[in-house]
């Protein structure tokens, strides 16, 4: 059952932050592995770099940038919430941090093509 309080933007902000963290945790080891290839196997690295020209991969990269930005701004929001004096417009902060993440991802998408 979808609990009514899960429809709140505050809860959705929490969910987005959590999911972005989980997906990044899965993706980052792969990312570092590919970067590590630059040191040991440049041919394999080139293979991966060619792959990044594929539009599908570009969209996936853009999603990752979005998730990274979501996690960054979401983290800043939680830090502000917990360490600065209480701000009464928490929903605005969720919206602002999500909007900032979306903006960054769109910017990345524009530059990718």
């Amino acid at each position: 059952m979808m609990r009514p309080h899960h429809k709140s933007s505050l809860w959705l902000g929490f969910l987005l932050h959590r999911l972005s963290g989980l997906i990044l945790a899965l993706f980052l080891p792969l990312h570092f592995y590919v970067l590590g290839l630059a040191l040991v196997d440049t041919a394999a690295l080139d293979g991966y770099l060619i792959l990044t020209r594929n539009p599908v991969v570009k969209f996936m990269e853009c999603t990752l940038v979005f998730l990274l930005a979501v996690h960054l701004f979401g983290g800043l929001r939680v830090l502000a919430l917990e360490f600065l004096p209480w701000h009464s417009r928490q929903k605005t902060l969720v919206a602002a941090s999500s909007a900032a993440a979306l903006f960054l991802a769109c910017l990345f998408l524009l530059r990718a093509f």
Partner: protein, 242 residues
């Protein structure tokens, strides 16, 4: 008072720890009717065995909270107009608490956690000493004042997902209470309380998603209180006090 013609369709969960089911009643709609009025009407007219709690009927005692169309609310001060979905009301016992019977929950765990969080006052003076002079404008008193009107209704506790995921978590109400006491300069057990709120099930479990603050019927903000606890905890850890 004139009766409106509309009938409400009210589903009420009935059962006990072993299990239960929803039963549906048709209840006459009246002007200014509260959820508690609806439950009382059912008990007086159709289901004499229906169990539920209330005492003050004016939002003071905190005993009447239940899930109303999926949201934790104080029944006595929730107008059905604010809670209805169409003409349908669904009433269930509070989430995150073991049920005793029908709409009455076992609150022992909830209150036990107040004690675990050191949500009790430890006086440093007795009645023969002069009354402590505390300026209401001092920052600590102002912080405490924001949280002291809690009526112990457990609506926040029912709204908290962390309690649902980790039943040991002290929960918003107990931690809010600890925060008000942590700001009480007359209290003599601050170190003990500081340790209590930092136990495994303490304030650091809170994810600040603010379900508690959204549903507190008296508009307290346990999330802000818990954020305060986290800040003081960090300070205490840095200063080697805990």
């Amino acid at each position: 008072m004139a009766e409106l013609s509309d009938e409400l369709e009210v589903a009420v969960w009935q059962g006990d720890r072993a299990g239960g089911a929803m039963r549906i009643y048709s209840v006459p709609q009246r002007p200014s009717q509260t959820v508690l009025d609806v439950v009382t009407w059912i008990q007086r007219n159709v289901e004499p065995g229906l169990s539920y709690r209330f005492a003050c009927r004016v939002g003071m005692c905190g005993s009447c909270a239940m899930m109303v169309n999926g949201q934790p609310r104080w029944a006595c001060r929730t107008h059905i107009k604010a809670a209805l979905a169409g003409n349908h009301l669904e009433l269930r016992p509070l989430r995150n608490l073991p049920v005793i019977k029908d709409l009455a929950c076992d609150m022992s765990e909830f209150f036990h956690k107040w004690q675990q969080a050191e949500g009790r006052f430890y006086p440093t003076a007795d009645r023969h000493e002069p009354v402590a002079k505390i300026s209401p404008a001092s920052p600590r008193r102002a912080a405490a004042n924001k949280g002291i009107e809690c009526i112990n209704c457990a609506a926040c506790y029912a709204a908290c997902d962390v309690v649902a995921w980790n039943p040991g978590y002290l929960g918003p109400a107990a931690l809010n209470r600890a925060w008000t006491l942590l700001n009480d300069v007359r209290d003599g057990a601050q170190k003990r309380r500081q340790r209590a709120v930092l136990q495994n099930n303490g304030c650091q479990n809170c994810h600040s998603m603010q379900g508690c603050a959204s549903f507190c019927p008296v508009a307290l903000n346990p999330t802000a209180a818990i954020a305060g606890l986290k800040r003081t905890a960090l300070r205490a850890i840095r200063q080697g006090q805990v």
